[in-house]
C-alpha cells in the first residue's frame, strides 16, 4: 500500500526530465523507437497572486480597495504590469524511430493554446488613491488568446560518442487568435480636464464568420454574418527547434536547446481599431432649462457616447499580422556521481520570451535518481522571475509503457479549496504516456 501511495505521488508531482526536455538532440541516445500516446502540459505564469488583491481582515477577506488596506500595502504588492498567462500544450501523438544510419526521426502532432491578460498598475493606482498623479500610461493593458496546431518532424544525430545534435521543423497551423493591444492609451486627469488618448488594435481571426458593423462603421459583436467553422485555419507559420547534447566525460551531460523559434502569420478577418482622443472638461452651457434630471442624464449619455466613440473599435480592412510564438531557451547540466551513478546532481536554466508579456526565466538545481528501465525520480529548486520555484519529477516504466508526470510550483500556497495561487507563481503540470518500442 505504501509503495502504491509513493508511486502515485511520484507520478502526480514531478517533471520528468525525459518528458520536459524537448531538446530535439535528446532522442539521439535512444536505442529504439517510441510512440507517445498523449501528453498534456499546462503552464500558468502569473507575476501576481491572489494575495495581491485579497487581504485577511478579521474573520473576513477584503479586497485591496477596502479602506482597511493602505495604499502602500495594496499597491506595493503589485507589479508595474500585472500579467496572467496560461499555456496548454497537447501532444496528441508522436512517433519516433531510429534509422540505419544512427539518426533518430520523430513525427509529432499536437496543439497549443495560450491566453493571458496584462493590467498596468496605474489602473489600480487611480482606483486606490485618485487622480493626483496624472498622466497615466495604460498602454500595457492588453489581452490575447491563440490556438494553433503543430505538425513536427524532428531529426537527431549523434555526431560522435559524446556529441549529438538535433533539429525539429514545425508547421504551425493557426486556428484562432484574438488580441487587444494598445500603442497608446493615456489618461490625463487634471482638475479642469480629463483627456483620453487611444490608439489600439483589436484583432480577431475567423475567416468565415464576419463580425458586423453598425452604420457608423463600429464593430458590432452582436451581429455576425457567415458560418464560423472552427476547423478552418486562420493562420500559418513555421517554427524551428534546435538542440545539442554534449557528454564530455563519463557521467557529465550538457544539454542545450532553443525551441519554438518562429511564429504564425495570422489572418485577422475581423480587425478593428480604436483611435482618437476625447477631452472632457465638464458638461457645457448648462442653462436653467437644462438643469433637469432628464436633460442632465441625456447630456451624460452623450458624453458616454463620445467616449465610446473613441474606445469602440472601428472596423478596418482585414489584415495579416506576424506574431511570434513563445520562444524557449533551455540549458541543463547533469552530473552522475561517480560513487553511485544512479544519483545525479542537476542544474538547469530556462528563458521564455513572449511577444505579448514580460519574459519568464528561472534557474534551478537539484538531484535525481535514475533506475534505467524502471523509474526516474527528481527534485529541484531554484529561483525564477516570480520567485522561488521547486519541482518534482518522476517516471515509471512497466513492460513497454512509460508513464511520466510532473509538477512545478512556487511557494506561497493557494486559496483553500481552490488552486488559485496566493503569490506570483510559475506553476506547471505535465502528464504523459509513452509506448517504448523495444
Amino acid at each position: 500500500m505504501k509503495k502504491t501511495v509513493i508511486t502515485l505521488a511520484m507520478l502526480a508531482f514531478g517533471v520528468a526530465l525525459w518528458a520536459q526536455d524537448k531538446n530535439p538532440a535528446g532522442n539521439a541516445s535512444l536505442e529504439n523507437g517510441f510512440v507517445r500516446i498523449g501528453e498534456f502540459q499546462r503552464f500558468s505564469r502569473n507575476n501576481v497572486g491572489a494575495s495581491a488583491f485579497l487581504f485577511p481582515s478579521g474573520d473576513k477577506l477584503v479586497t485591496g480597495l477596502h479602506s482597511s488596506v493602505s495604499a502602500d500595502d495594496f499597491l506595493g504588492g503589485l507589479k508595474a504590469v500585472n500579467s496572467l498567462y496560461t499555456q496548454d500544450d497537447y501532444n496528441l501523438v508522436s512517433y519516433g524511430w531510429k534509422d540505419a544510419t544512427r539518426g533518430f526521426h520523430t513525427v509529432e502532432v499536437g496543439a497549443k493554446v495560450n491566453y493571458g491578460l496584462s493590467v498596468p498598475k496605474e489602473i489600480f493606482h487611480i482606483l486606490k488613491t485618485g487622480t493626483a498623479q496624472s498622466p497615466y500610461d495604460l498602454s500595457a493593458l492588453q489581452s490575447f488568446g491563440n490556438l494553433y496546431a503543430e505538425i513536427a518532424y524532428g531529426y537527431a544525430l549523434p555526431i560522435s560518442e559524446t556529441f549529438s545534435v538535433g533539429a525539429r521543423a514545425k508547421l504551425l497551423v493557426g486556428m484562432n487568435s484574438v488580441g487587444i493591444s494598445a500603442r497608446n492609451f493615456t489618461l490625463t486627469t487634471t482638475e479642469d480636464q480629463y483627456r483620453l488618448d487611444m490608439d489600439a488594435d483589436i484583432d480577431l481571426t475567423n475567416r468565415n464568420k464576419k463580425v458586423g458593423t453598425d452604420p457608423d462603421g463600429y464593430l458590432d459583436y452582436t451581429s455576425f454574418s457567415g458560418k464560423g467553422k472552427l476547423g478552418i485555419p486562420t493562420g500559418a507559420g513555421l517554427a524551428l527547434d534546435l538542440g545539442l547534447v554534449w557528454k564530455p566525460f563519463d557521467g557529465f551531460t550538457v544539454s542545450a536547446s532553443v525551441l519554438d523559434l518562429g511564429g504564425i502569420l495570422w489572418y485577422y478577418g475581423n480587425a478593428g481599431k480604436s483611435s482618437g482622443s476625447y477631452t472632457f472638461d465638464g458638461l457645457k452651457v448648462l442653462s436653467t432649462e437644462e438643469m433637469t434630471q432628464d436633460k442632465l442624464v441625456s447630456k451624460l449619455k452623450d458624453v458616454g457616447e463620445e467616449v465610446l466613440g473613441v474606445i469602440k473599435p472601428k472596423a478596418v480592412d482585414k489584415c495579416f499580422k506576424w506574431k511570434a510564438v513563445p520562444l524557449n531557451a533551455n540549458m541543463n547540466v547533469s552530473y552522475a556521481l561517480p560513487f553511485w551513478q544512479k544519483l545525479s546532481v542537476d542544474a538547469s536554466c530556462l528563458y521564455t520570451g513572449y511577444s505579448f508579456c514580460a519574459p519568464y526565466w528561472e534557474a534551478r538545481g537539484g538531484v535525481s535518481l535514475d533506475f534505467p528501465g524502471l523509474l526516474h525520480l527528481g527534485l529541484s529548486a531554484g529561483s525564477g522571475a516570480h520567485g522561488f520555484v521547486y519541482a518534482f519529477n518522476g517516471s515509471v516504466e512497466f513492460l513497454n509503457f512509460k508513464l511520466y508526470a510532473a509538477f512545478e510550483n512556487g511557494i506561497g500556497g493557494v486559496i483553500p479549496y481552490e488552486s488559485t495561487p496566493l503569490k506570483a507563481n510559475n506553476k506547471s503540470l505535465c502528464i504523459g504516456l509513452v509506448y517504448l518500442i523495444k
Partner: protein, 376 residues
C-alpha cells in the same frame, strides 16, 4: 536517507501549509471598496449663463410689477406717464385773433406728482439713477410747429432739483415729438414737476392744416423713467431653503471641495454668508422634519463680485464641505442658505438688467479621503 523518507519529506514540504486558512474565500469577501483615498478631481462643467429673467421664469412677479417694471431692454425701472394738456385745433383756432396769421398760443401751467414709487425703494437699499423726465408733444398739423416753456423738477420736501427752459423746440408735422428731455444722475429722487410758460408757436391757418378739420389736438404728456440700482447693502440677509435629495451618507465622504470661476454681469455683490446642511430627522411621533446638521462645515463668506452689462467680473470661488474628524458627510436633505446682497463697488454702470448674466465656469469638484461604495 532512505528513499521513502526522501519523498515523504519532499511531499510534506510541497503541500503542507500550502492552504492558507486566512484566505478561505468560503467565509465571504467583503466587497465594500473605498476608492480615491487621496483625492479625485472631476471637471463638472459650466453652468450658465443664467439671467435673473431665466431664474424668475416668466419675468417679474405680479406683486413687484406694480412698482418695478422691466423696460424693453430688460432694465429694472420705475416709470410713470401722464397727460399735461390737450387742446383741439378748432378750439385754438377760435381763440386766435387772426387765424390766417401765425400766432403764439399759451398753454396753462401744469404741476404734478411723479407717481413712480421710486422713493419707496430707498428703504431696501435701492436707488434710482439715471432719472429721465421727458415731455412729449403731439403735433396734429401737416406743418411743423415750435414749442417753448419751462420745466422745474422737485424732490423730497419740494426741493428744487432742476429748472430748465426750452425755447422754440421744433415739432415735426403729424407726429408725437419729444420736445424736452431732462436726465439727471443725482441721488435725489424726482417727486414732482412743474411745466410753466408753455407756448405753441403756430403757423397761419392751422384749421386748414389739420387733417381732422379741427378735431386734431395738441397734447402734452410727461414720461418719467428711472433705472434701479442697489445703492447700499440690502438691509437684511435673504434666507433660502434648497430641497435636495443627496444620499451621500453611504459614500462616507469626508471632504469635498467645489471650485468655480463666477463670471457676473449683475451689478450686485452676492455674499453667501452661511450654508447649513439639513438632514432628515424623525421626532418621537415618527414625524419627519429637516434639521441642521452641525458636524459638517461649509466654507462661509463666499462673495461673488459685482459686474455690469458687457463687463463681467470674474470671482474665483472655493467651497469646502468638510465633515468633522471621525465623521462623514451624511445624506443631505437640503441646504439652508443665507445670502447677502451688497452694493456694487467699482462698477461704472450700476443699472440692474434682467438679461444680465451670471455664469459658473470651470466648475470642478475634488473629493478627499475616499469615496466608499458599499458593494460592487
Amino acid at each position: 536517507m532512505h528513499i521513502r523518507h526522501f519523498f515523504i519529506i519532499s511531499l510534506l514540504t510541497a503541500f503542507s501549509a500550502c492552504q492558507h486558512s486566512e484566505y478561505d474565500t468560503s467565509r465571504g469577501i467583503d466587497k465594500e471598496i473605498t476608492v480615491f483615498t487621496d483625492q479625485v478631481s472631476l471637471p463638472l462643467g459650466d453652468i450658465g449663463p443664467l439671467t435673473p429673467k431665466s431664474l424668475l421664469g416668466n419675468g417679474l412677479p405680479d406683486m413687484i410689477k406694480s412698482f418695478i417694471q422691466e423696460d424693453e431692454q430688460g432694465y429694472l425701472v420705475c416709470q410713470a406717464t401722464g397727460p399735461l394738456s390737450s387742446n383741439y385745433v378748432a378750439m385754438i383756432s377760435m381763440g386766435l385773433p387772426d387765424p390766417s396769421s401765425p400766432a403764439d398760443f399759451s398753454i396753462p401751467d401744469n404741476t404734478g406728482e411723479i407717481d413712480a414709487n421710486a422713493g419707496m425703494l430707498g428703504a431696501l437699499g435701492f436707488a434710482v439713477s439715471p432719472q429721465i423726465f421727458t415731455l412729449q408733444a403731439n403735433n396734429p398739423l401737416t406743418e411743423g410747429v415750435c414749442v417753448s416753456g419751462k420745466l422745474t423738477i422737485l424732490g423730497e420736501e419740494d426741493k428744487t432739483l432742476a429748472t430748465e427752459e426750452f425755447s422754440k423746440v421744433p415739432m415735426e408735422a403729424s407726429t408725437s415729438n419729444e420736445v424736452f428731455r431732462l436726465e439727471k444722475t443725482d441721488e435725489d429722487t424726482f417727486t414732482k414737476f412743474k411745466v410753466e410758460n408753455t407756448v405753441l408757436h403756430l403757423p397761419a391757418s392751422i384749421l386748414e392744416k389739420d387733417p381732422l378739420n379741427g378735431f386734431g389736438s395738441f397734447s402734452l404728456d410727461y414720461q418719467y423713467k428711472a433705472y434701479i440700482y442697489l445703492s447700499a447693502d440690502f438691509p437684511m440677509p435673504l434666507n433660502f431653503d434648497v430641497d435636495l435629495n443627496a444620499p451621500l451618507g453611504q459614500f462616507k465622504v469626508q471632504e469635498a471641495r467645489i471650485c468655480t470661476e463666477v463670471s457676473n454681469e449683475i451689478p450686485l455683490s452676492l455674499e453667501v454668508s452661511s450654508v447649513m446642511i439639513l438632514v432628515k430627522q424623525l421626532d418621537e411621533e415618527g414625524k419627519e422634519s429637516l434639521v441642521p446638521y452641525e458636524d459638517v462645515s461649509v466654507t462661509p463668506g463666499l462673495t461673488v463680485a459685482s459686474g455690469c452689462s458687457g463687463n463681467p467680473v470674474i470671482s474665483p470661488l472655493e467651497m469646502v464641505i468638510k465633515a468633522k474628524e471621525g465623521t462623514t458627510i451624511p445624506d443631505i436633505a437640503g441646504l439652508e442658505l443665507e445670502l447677502k446682497l451688497l452694493a456694487p463697488a467699482g462698477v461704472a454702470d450700476k443699472r440692474i438688467n434682467l438679461n444680465q448674466s451670471v455664469s459658473f465656469n470651470n466648475l470642478r469638484a475634488t473629493v478627499s479621503g475616499g469615496i466608499t461604495i458599499p458593494s460592487l
